[in-house]
Amino acid sequence: MKAHLTRRYLFSASHRLHCDGLSESENQATYGKCNNPHGHGHNYALEVTVSGQVNPQTGMVCNLVDLDGAVHREVLERFDHVNLNARREFAATVPTTENLSEVIFNILKQSFTAAHLEKVRLEETMMNSFEYAGGAELRV
């Protein structure tokens, strides 16, 4: 039997949405207050969904200790309480939550192989969230 397991994590980070290829007024028009020069922060909530056959001996898709370990080591230690713009992952891209979702998905795809990574869902605030499934169709 194949099941999907989702675990939720919290981290806090700052960012500024600014594109070097746009003029000052274009940046302001595109990003509004997210373009303020000194940046601002969010409490992000990350949901990681993995899937796989339920192991008949353990009753598990994967051991949560392993998933927690990978997410803490590879994602939370990297992005919690940092300025995202200063991270090398965003040297060439704007740290929107769309881009952050894709970066986190790709990091976990590489580092967590005990189950199939289905998607990541990232809440920037209580009012908005983004989902990325590595190009696969998102499931209802």
């Binding site: 099941a3 989702t6 939720r8 969904t49 339920v54 353990t58 009753g59 898709v61 051991n63 499931r139």
Partner: protein
Amino acid sequence: MVYLTRKCEFSASHYYHNPEFSAEENQRIFGKCANLNGHGHNYTLEVTVKGDVDPKTGFVVDLKELKEILNREVLEALDHRHLNKEVPEFLRQIPTTENLAIAIWNRLQGKLHVAKLHRVRVYELPDLFVDFYGEA
């Protein structure tokens, strides 16, 4: 096609133990969940059904009927129970959230007359849930 989700809660106790494993293996794999005295959770169950909207009633499913099925098939069997000791599915199977979602699916499958069961989502904690879509 419209999807409808009904939510309900139940509380139960459980522990994780595989008699084929040594005491050390049970402890290493299941951690504090292996404590044989058990522990409990407030579970949240979300059941999603899908179907076409009936042009006469405007319903995908009769919510009252869905609620009765959930109460009869799931909540009466699981709420305020010890899953390992009182629920037949878990006399031989570990009551992980994965297996719980599968067991609830199996209890509901075939009981709905109009809509089709689409997904069973079981939250063990606000930060941990399992989805089962009936896939082999």
